[in-house]
């Protein structure tokens, strides 16, 4: 009888790390509830802010921007929390003791952040539609909204994972994450908001804005994810 020791493959390590995050979430439901309720509250604030203007204002023109405001604030909240429970109980030290490629940690963490954000969006985007877009008629190809949402979420979660790893070790981490996160994701936000507004308004030639904007956002994603992936090793080891 012999004991077979096998080094787990990188993909297995990735799966284990991702499962740890998801299991923790399924047990506590901390992220989804806090992000979901926060998003709902932001919607309520929008309602108050637009209370007087709804009749006169063309809501279609601003709703794309409002939707992205909602997503940025919600993802800030989620990203802030995502490394907090790694610090408690010394979980991060434990992970770092395992002989694995550090960028696997980045990929697993970014994936779990993407999944949480997407889960929150699945709830909040219909709510957003219900509260603000049922009174007006959005463009024909409204369903294409899924694409900028997906591209934007991937980019935000990717760069946000790197930044939240940085800020979790600083004083005043909540403020610090916002100070770094908002200017750095600005290009992505700009492109995604343009694409979203173009299809929500659905005017003639909307696709001429939509596809270039989407392509640029995707380009940002690729560059920034690669950069974060390369730099993550330095950050997590510091």
């Amino acid at each position: 009888m012999s004991v077979v020791l096998k080094t787990p493959s990188t993909f297995q390590q990735y799966k284990t790390l991702l499962r740890k995050d998801l299991e923790q979430e399924f047990r506590t439901k901390e992220m989804i509830t806090s992000m979901g309720i926060y998003a709902l509250l932001v919607l309520v604030v929008f309602g108050a802010a637009l209370g007087q203007t709804t009749q006169a204002l063309d809501l279609l023109q601003v709703s794309g921007g409002l939707l992205w405001t909602l997503i940025v604030f919600t993802s800030l909240l989620g990203l802030n929390r995502s490394f907090n429970h790694e610090k408690e109980q010394g979980c991060l030290e434990g992970i770092l003791l395992v002989p694995l490629d550090r960028s696997v940690i980045f990929l697993a963490k970014a994936t779990s952040n993407i999944l949480f954000l997407l889960a929150v969006e699945v709830i909040t985007v219909p709510l957003f539609y219900f509260f603000f877009l049922t009174a007006v008629t959005p463009g024909e190809s409204f369903w294409l909204l899924v694409l900028p949402l997906l591209v934007g979420t991937i980019g935000m979660a990717g760069i946000g994972t790197l930044l939240s790893t940085i800020t979790v070790n600083t004083r005043g981490k909540d403020v610090m994450l916002a100070v770094l996160f908002v200017p750095i994701i600005f290009p992505l936000l700009f492109a995604c908001a343009s694409a979203t507004t173009a299809i929500i308004v659905g005017a003639e030639g909307a696709m001429d804005v939509f596809y270039p904007a989407l392509l640029l956002a995707a380009g940002y994603d690729v560059i920034m994810l690669l950069l974060s992936w390369v730099l993550y090793d330095f950050v997590i080891s510091a």
Partner: protein, 257 residues
């Protein structure tokens, strides 16, 4: 333990560029002053128009004398903007070097280059905003280059806020190196994205061939002056920071022995 390592390699007390740093600042100050005078006395207004209080016809558009004069901002705006981005590029380069070697000297280089970049970015914002006010008639517009510079300024400020928020020196230098590399990559993307989506109202000067010889000369003098100023300020500040580090290292060494 860290101190024992440092005591063998004290931060150096000045290098050869320090000897010319002061003169570089002086020459830069003189050249930018000459450039300022040239902008008003030597370089003619756009397309040979004259400033006589009467509106001029340029390219099928009526241009008032106020606009012809406010065009002079350009001679300072463009060099300052180029130097600010150059300083950021140097900060990015030193950050990459730092991550490669973990040599604390590169961290100091990157930090000082960022400081210089911040000064020039703020100058760019001020001159650019004056331009915006008089040429386009508004204080602020979300034009691609204005937006990019605002984002650049915010990232540089975030860089210094981050430095202030971390206590451990090694962690601080690694994190700030990472952030400055991200900033260097992010800013061109920002310009590209904001530029390719909506229509731009920024004048594309060189591509249209809108500069005459005397204007090019003035821009050149200002450009050289600004580069010298940036370089000289960088060296002076670097020497100051580096000497302070040297004093600290010497103190630590004395305490140990």
């Amino acid at each position: 333990m860290a101190n024992a390592k440092k005591s063998h390699a004290l931060p150096e007390g000045g290098q050869w560029p320090d000897a010319i740093a002061f003169w570089a600042v002086l020459a830069g100050a003189v050249l930018t002053t000459i450039g300022f005078l040239m902008a008003f006395l030597y370089a003619g207004p756009v397309n040979g128009a004259s400033v006589d209080g009467m509106p001029e016809m340029i390219g099928g558009q009526m241009v008032s004398s106020k606009l012809l004069l406010s065009q002079k901002i350009f001679y300072f705006h463009m060099p300052v903007a180029i130097v600010s981005f150059g300083a950021l590029a140097f900060a990015g380069y030193y950050s990459v070097r730092f991550l490669m070697t973990k040599n604390q000297r590169y961290d100091t280089c990157a930090k000082v280059a960022m400081e210089i970049s911040l000064i020039f970015v703020v100058c760019t914002m001020i001159t650019g905003d004056l331009w915006t006010r008089f040429e386009w008639g508004v204080w602020w517009t979300w034009d691609p280059r204005l937006t990019t510079y605002l984002i650049l300024m915010l990232i540089i400020i975030a860089y210094f806020v981050l430095r202030g928020f971390i206590d451990e020196p090694e962690r601080r230098s690694i994190y700030s190196a990472v952030v400055s590399i991200i900033a260097l990559v992010d800013v061109p993307i920002c310009l590209m994205i904001t530029r390719m989506i909506p229509s731009s109202i920024h004048p594309v000067v060189l591509r249209e061939g809108g500069m005459t010889g005397d204007m090019g000369m003035t821009v050149g003098v200002c450009m050289i002056g600004m580069i010298l100023l940036g370089f000289g300020m960088y060296r002076l500040r670097f020497r100051q920071v580096r000497l302070a580090q040297r004093v600290q290292a010497l103190k630590d060494e004395l305490e140990e022995n």
